[in-house]
Symmetry: C2
Subunit: 497 residues, 2 copies
């Protein structure tokens, strides 16, 4: 096969050009991560004939690499929330998520996610996902115990605390250490296998098969170096991840993310699913957005510090979730980001921290530190003076940090160098992708449904839409919730052939 | 015709379904604004048979609504630059534009634009576009005299002055008042007409006609309530503007722009050109970006003021071009933006300003103004104290405003309310669109050329890519430069039918 003949993701094959079908099924699911697994289980339970095609040699996807916290609540509270003493209304959850997703939030997805959240919890438990009825109360990037519930977003802090009552919604799997992802995918894989869903590994999806009217009838795959035509009677579900591993796409679509040094995902997050959808007429939206994060705690004591930019000015309430802080760091003018704190608050930073930032300077006085950091003379001094003046009173009139973390910063002082490109880890993944209905149906730029084509997970622009409002558990929550829905939708669809 | 049968921009008609061709030509150009006009002139001069289809009853597009400054330079300088005493190297222009366009800059477009800029100037002059060899030296949003040259971007200011020698490149047409746009389009329309290019007004382009291999062979149009099939032997050039008038698209693709209150464009900027390109397999990129602007001068004396956010903190060097300032205003946390200045500097604000912001407060002391504005006590006082301390010495270590505008702010003090949604005008237009080669060829998400399909102007992601680095004249410059190139490319293409 010459290079010219090579299948292009963005150039679907025409149905009329297919002379031989190598495989036939109701539903082909592309990708065996969280979204693909959940779609397969639901579709199979609805009686459909399902095959999952997975690029690698095993299930898992990026879900298995994650902590697999799952963001759930509302409806009076999940079993875990209730056991931990929390009441959570659907409206409260909705108000919170609405603010998180910004102008580009998809109200139908947010609403559906909140309303269906308790049912989703029950479904997961029914499938064998274990949650312990205990709360992890520390401020942490991830749970290192087996506790079942924790705050994973900005629920307690400004401005989110002005629109919704803070409730923890991050559900952590009942397993020691940061092993939620592998366990979640093991359980889902067991569920897929025991249902007899056909899974074919080491299979690359190349391009969709589409008729002249735009209806998707299958997909071209490559197995053992052979191209095979797969006919789908009901539809193809793209669950192939995002595009965090595709540098060229990041630069064109998500310039801010392309500046980060730590892409989070598996090698299959190369945008192929999104590109295939685009080729079939699907619209890729919200492509500039992603989760970026600067994991500056633990230790939580560093939250008592203040972030400053190259003007020596604060720019965020430091009690925000690390991803919101990271996003704001990336948006600062100038080329320096420092975390300034009382040296006493460094705690076990060197052993517990994921950020990898070096000490940029220390000083007995703020003036000394300011000079060592090369910040404009008086700039940091003013900032600390103002901060301390109000922290003394438990106030933060500029950025509204909550009293829990408001303590005057005292000497000796220290600073961590969180400047991009100087060692600190800025991790990220993409939140843009195919525009879909909550049902998983892929939409054109005019929001017309493309028959036979479905998508879920990071191949789509899902419920989470902004890095500023992200909370851990939103992505695996979205992946599993809307993955299931896509599976149900396509199983219930009438046959196209 | 039932609603179901209605042509959808994103759903191209199949060539095989076309039973009758109502019109046949080499090239169909969609839109008679700046890009369409320049494409038509070049294509016709190369011997092609060209028709322009225009939605409205007259030529003009959004170019005619603009000031039609044109950003040109490099190559030793244009005639006007030289006459005004400026030397401008291509490398200098390139270095500047490269920084302006950010991570998402298209190096091939930037380079080609700089290298071809002098030739473009000469071409425009040859077509009859008049430029006077004089410089307008005031800091202004637009020229109100007939002078030919002015600074229209951030050339003189930080950080741009660190990578390139400041040279003015905004070329203003030789006409009194802000009438460059109408004159530019009158001249281009005359050129189109005297060449005998066929123009059909009141014609809406509905959707492209594409064969099974993805090659574009024409376009479906509506004239007098009839759908007509137009066959193009060489190609279709989409010059149909951006999507600033499409609220739903703004929300999905460009959430920041959707918050502005003054979309700048004509009603045809509804995204139809971009959607048609997407439907044919083209990738829309950089869709989140746009020019947003807060036209806070004239009078230029207000540049001596300082912008503060709801934390009472500065965030930008106020000597930046108004569009960069506007973009930064939109990115501030909190919900207040004030311009603080010495009351003496208000000059003729009430008569000369386009911004429409009300006086938010005044005070004999900074403390009094701070209190009146509801800013945190001490916040504005610290900000002004720091600013004045350094302004006294002609320095601005935080934001690097140049000495020309650095004067301590003195009482009595005043503040303009530039808060979004409280009266100040935030205008905007889109800078995202179809990914194209400099030649105008439209690309898929894998950057494969779609045969028979071309685009230029705001239907594309052109040379200008960011609001942070925008300069007046970049859009009309891009529109005319790459519009011409698209015209030449398609005229030289071999016949597809």
């Amino acid at each position: 096969m010459s290079t010219e003949d090579k299948a292009k993701a963005t150039k679907p094959r025409r149905l009329k050009d297919i002379s031989e079908w190598h495989k036939t099924m109701d539903i082909a699911i592309i990708g065996f991560g969280g979204a693909g697994a959940c779609a397969a289980i639901e579709a199979k339970d609805a009686g459909a004939d399902v095959t999952i095609f997975e690029l690698s040699s095993a299930s898992g996807g990026s879900t298995a690499m994650s902590s697999a916290e799952i963001y759930m609540g509302g409806n009076g509270g999940t079993r875990v929330q209730k056991a931990c003493g929390y009441d959570d209304s659907t409206e409260n959850m909705y108000n919170y998520l609405k603010l998180c997703q910004g102008e580009q939030g998809d109200d139908n997805k947010i609403r559906a996610y909140c309303e269906g959240s308790l049912g989703h919890f029950d479904w997961l438990v029914d499938k064998g996902v274990p949650f312990k009825d205990t709360e992890f109360k520390e401020r942490a990037i991830m749970v290192t115990t087996d506790d079942g519930l924790l705050y994973t977003g900005n629920e307690k802090v400004w401005p989110f605390n002005e629109v919704a009552t803070p409730v923890p919604r991050g559900h952590n799997l009942y397993v020691d250490g940061d092993n939620g992802g592998p366990l979640f995918m093991k359980i889902m894989t067991d569920n897929v296998e025991k249902r007899g869903v056909n899974v074919e590994y080491e299979t690359r999806a190349l391009t969709l098969i589409q008729d002249e009217d735009g209806v998707v009838h299958g997909i071209v795959i490559r197995q053992n170096q052979k191209e095979l035509n797969v006919r789908t009677h009901k539809g193809v579900i793209l669950c192939a991840g995002g595009f965090v591993m595709n540098e060229a796409m990041l630069k064109r679509y998500a310039p801010m993310l392309s500046r980060c040094n730590a892409p989070t995902g598996n090698p299959g997050d190369d945008g192929a699913g999104i590109l295939m959808g685009m080729g079939a007429g699907g619209a890729a939206i919200n492509m500039h957005e992603g989760l970026t994060t600067l994991p500056f705690y633990p230790p939580p004591s560093l939250t008592k510090g203040i972030f400053v930019n190259s003007a020596g000015q604060r720019f965020i309430n430091e009690d925000c979730y690390h991803s919101r802080v990271g996003n704001y760091c990336l948006k600062q003018p100038g080329d320096r980001i420092y975390l300034i704190f009382s040296a006493d608050d460094i705690g076990n930073y060197q052993n517990s921290n994921y950020m990898g930032a070096d000490i940029a300077g220390t000083g007995e006085t703020v003036a000394e530190l300011e000079s060592e950091l090369g910040l404009p003379e008086l700039s940091l001094q003013q900032t600390v003076e103002f901060y301390n003046h109000y922290a003394e009173k438990g106030e933060d009139p500029k950025f509204h940090k909550i009293p829990q973390w408001l303590t005057p910063i005292k000497g000796p002082y220290a600073a961590l160098d969180c400047t991009l490109g100087r060692g600190a880890m800025y991790s990220m993944f993409t939140l843009g992708g195919l525009d879909t209905l909550p049902t998983g149906e892929v939409l054109t730029g005019e929001r017309e449904v493309i028959k036979g084509l479905y998508a879920a997970g990071r191949t789509t622009a899902g419920m989470p839409r902004t890095g500023d409002g992200y909370a851990s558990g939103m992505s695996v929550g979205d992946v599993s919730f809307f993955g299931r829905w896509a599976g149900r939708t396509v199983a219930a669809a009438e046959n196209l052939s």
